[in-house]
């Protein structure tokens, strides 16, 4: 069980490999990775993620504890970056390990839904046209209702 909030990039392959390697207690491992999309085609764009040090870690710990209470998880990992990123860069990842495939999937989706709307991160997109704070989507708030 681990929550990491960091500015530096993470090595997705190494993280997934370490998370899944030799795991005999859980036959199902699910991961989600969020990547900076090049929204303005052909435009050189960047993303800056602001966060609330202290509250971020507390919010992620809380979300992770809820997932563990609700599903049969043998392990759980959340990594989320802040700072400046370019298109194609990895923003964050979650990983879940469970003896049951449905638990691993549901817990990963739950973590993502809560992380989207309940962890204090804010994304700003910077393009040649200017800077824009990404607006939250009503559907992201709605997604919480299913849990």
């Amino acid at each position: 069980m681990a929550v990491r909030v960091q500015q530096e990039p993470f090595a997705l392959g190494a993280e997934v490999e370490a998370f899944a390697a030799g795991r005999q207690d859980a036959g199902a491992v699910v991961t989600f990775t969020g990547i900076v999309r090049d929204l303005v085609s052909g435009d050189l764009s960047r993303m800056v993620i602001e966060h609330y040090p202290g509250m971020t870690e507390a919010a992620l710990d809380k979300i992770e504890a809820q997932a563990r209470a609700r599903w049969d998880l043998k392990d759980c990992l959340i990594i989320h970056r802040y700072g400046e990123m370019a298109a194609g860069d990895m923003i964050m990842m979650v990983a879940t390990a469970s003896p049951h495939r449905a638990d691993a999937f549901d817990a990963a989706e739950f973590l993502m839904d809560y992380l989207k709307s309940r962890a204090p991160f804010w994304k700003k997109e910077i393009t040649a046209q200017g800077e824009t704070w990404v607006e939250s989507k009503a559907q992201d708030e709605d997604a919480l209702a299913r849990w």
Binding site: I49, E50, Y52, S117, P120, F121, W122
Partner: protein
């Protein structure tokens, strides 16, 4: 004395990330009224509360929550992590 933090466009609109505020406001809503009365940039930032969220001592809260005992208030737009 209470620490007031601003994030994302709230921070940009008010022009600072953090300040100490001397207040006797009973609730978050009262504190917001005090801030709005200060200067136009506060009035602009707090114009539409439906576009804002508040955390008390790093826990999400409602605008009618009491401030008694609270050391840190943070205002920010809806979160967009993930």
């Amino acid at each position: 004395m209470i620490d007031v933090l601003y994030f994302a466009w709230v921070r940009e609109r008010i022009g600072l990330p953090k300040e100490q505020v001397e207040t006797s406001a009973a609730t978050v809503a009262d504190l917001i009224e005090e801030l709005k009365a200060r200067e136009e940039r506060y009035a602009a930032a707090f114009a539409d509360l439906s576009a804002l969220r508040v955390a008390l001592d790093q826990d999400l809260a409602e605008f009618d929550a009491p401030l008694a005992g609270v050391r840190e208030v943070a205002f920010f737009p809806p979160m967009t992590g993930g």
